[in-house]
């Protein structure tokens, strides 16, 4: 750094003013101009978060929202050069600083996460699938999954109920968020735990339906194999119709 210590300290005072609105004694400045920077910069942050988290903005009262924005801008050192990724840092900040407890809104972290997920999936970089064919053997062939997804565990079902209503339904919820090929629409599917297992075996472990049935039956001899087969067939058919599964793999042959 070739700045003098004095110049560096001046820059620090200026950014401190912009971020906190306190101590406007920045050398060689005009207060009226300084105020514009504080106003403009804070508006940027506020508008970005208001647009990224429209539901949270509605749920929180004005004072709570203002506190989050002011605290975030003042105390969080934003890492990303991409302002459209900043809402993720905001979500992390709120989570880490335990505002859900401070505001007595236990669902707040899940709500922010849910809202961020939609942006994250919508904007995530393209992950093209391996070659696949449209027809195949549902039980024996490997399935090619849509790679543009996230599987998330939530305590409060903010994806199923209004935020405050979700308090009455706390539990273990599994949310699949994914991007539709071609239309780029973001969709959400609430998974029961058995479907999480099916999904992970098929998409992560690249197992066929029959291999999954065998593995589960071997580990749990009392399981009703006929019912299990019916469950996994229905699951796979639904996932195909919802474009979560795209086709039968040409890379992974039996």
């Amino acid at each position: 750094m070739l700045y003098s210590t004095k110049t560096y300290q001046t820059q620090k005072k200026l950014t401190n003013w912009v971020r906190t609105g306190s101590n406007p004694e920045v050398p060689g400045t005009v207060l009226e101009g300084l105020k514009q920077y504080r106003r403009l910069f804070r508006n940027n942050i506020n508008n970005t978060m208001e647009q990224a988290f429209p539901i949270s903005f509605e749920v929180l009262n004005k004072e709570q929202w203002k506190q989050l924005i002011d605290d975030f801008f003042a105390h969080h050192d934003a890492k990303t050069p991409h302002v459209w990724k900043l809402p993720f840092e905001f979500y992390q900040f709120v989570n880490k600083q335990k505002y859900s407890s401070k505001f007595n809104m236990p669902f707040l972290n899940d709500l922010l996460h849910f809202e961020w997920l939609e942006i994250e999936i919508f904007t995530m970089q393209d992950i093209l699938p391996e070659p696949y064919k449209k027809t195949g053997d549902l039980l024996n062939d490997r399935i090619e999954c849509n790679n543009e997804f996230q599987l998330t565990q939530l305590k409060y079902p903010v994806h199923l109920f209004a935020a405050k209503e979700s308090l009455k339904h706390s539990g273990d919820y599994y949310l699949l968020s994914y991007r539709m090929p071609e239309t780029y629409e973001v969709k959400f599917i609430d998974f029961p735990v058995l479907h999480v297992l099916f999904f992970e075996k098929i998409c992560n472990d690249r197992m066929s339906a029959n291999e999954i049935i065998k593995e589960i039956s071997d580990q749990n001899p009392s399981v009703d194999k006929k019912q299990l087969k019916q469950n996994i067939e229905e699951f796979i058919e639904t996932m195909f119709s919802e474009k979560v599964f795209l086709g039968y793999s040409e890379t992974y042959q039996n």
Partner: protein, 314 residues
């Protein structure tokens, strides 16, 4: 600045298909979208709110300009839009986050991504602001004025050289608008001139910013233009602004260009003695496309006045 306009909302957050404008005014000439026009190049900032108008050629600038921060790493719908628009128009990059006036080292990871985009789309101009937008690696997402001082010059010249060496191309540095000086020891014009000359970078001359700063800080626009290193000016920005009160103008890019700024542009071209790419910046409060076309035509007509001058190709 277009920072907060960069948010890329999915379905319920934001309409992916802004309503289409229907009326079309024939423009003077828009014939070559693959390479910039050999005579006069009038560009328009590519913004998501008006993306469809570019893609369906309702409006057809000679080139487009984007902030790389708002497009790098994007997939899905907007990634697809970005690929398509780059097949139709030459691209200039105008960065927001380089923060050449920051005390810390440049963000090399970001610059690596930037270099890939520059090569991928054969970008000939990458411009940035003579300002700082982060301190101690904390981004602020807008532009702060640098103290006009000797040590600032030394620091920024070194930074510009580092970035130019890395990107293997000249950086084009823009004069920014500012609402207060900060511990200034020399004039703004001397500050800019010396940085441009000592670093070997090019200059993006934002004519609206000259007007805004001259109003806010009470100096003469023509004298300021005369004092610029005009031989290094390779790109011009034109934009509208908002007069907040009798003492202060804010550089918003949300209004039409006013006549005194057009006049200053005319004066600038006369002093430059050549035509260079000119961008109309509009970041929000978008009017009918016809109005933007009229503004672009007005810029083109002023350029035509100076067409006998040497033409510098992009």
């Amino acid at each position: 600045m277009e920072y907060w306009k960069a948010i890329v909302y999915p379905a319920h957050h934001y309409s992916k298909t802004p309503s289409l404008q229907t009326s079309i005014t024939p423009s003077l000439h828009y014939s070559n979208y693959k390479s910039m026009n050999k005579n006069i190049n009038i560009g328009l900032g590519f913004r998501r709110e008006i993306a469809d108008a570019f893609l369906n050629q309702e409006i057809m600038p000679d080139f487009i300009e984007v902030a790389p921060e708002n497009w790098i790493d994007l997939g899905g719908y907007w990634g697809d839009v970005f690929r398509k628009v780059n097949e139709q128009y030459p691209l200039i990059l105008h960065g927001l986050s380089l923060s050449i006036g920051s005390p810390e080292e440049p963000d090399w990871d970001f610059l690596k991504k930037l270099k890939r985009i520059i090569k991928q789309f054969n970008v000939k101009i990458y411009s940035e602001h003579l300002s700082f937008a982060k301190l101690d690696n904390a981004h602020l997402y807008d532009l702060l004025p640098i103290p006009f001082k000797e040590d600032s010059i030394n620091h920024i010249v070194k930074r510009i050289k580092q970035v130019q060496d890395f990107l293997e191309m000249p950086l084009t540095i823009e004069n920014v608008s500012y609402y207060t000086p900060v511990d200034a020891e020399i004039t703004e014009s001397e500050f800019i001139s010396r940085i441009v000359k000592e670093s070997g970078c090019n200059m993006l001359l934002d004519v609206n910013n000259v007007y805004v700063n001259a109003f806010n800080h009470n100096y003469n626009t023509h004298e300021f233009i005369d004092a610029m290193p005009l031989e290094k000016v390779s790109y011009i920005h034109m934009a509208g602004h908002h007069k907040l009160n009798d003492n202060l103008i804010i550089d918003t890019h949300g209004e039409a260009i006013i006549d005194p700024v057009f006049e200053l542009f005319d004066y600038t071209l006369d002093k430059l003695g050549r035509n260079i790419p000119v961008l109309l910046e509009r970041d929000f409060n978008f009017p009918e496309m016809n109005e933007l076309k009229l503004e672009m035509n007005k810029l083109r007509n002023i350029c035509l006045k100076h067409q006998d001058q040497n033409v510098v190709q992009y």
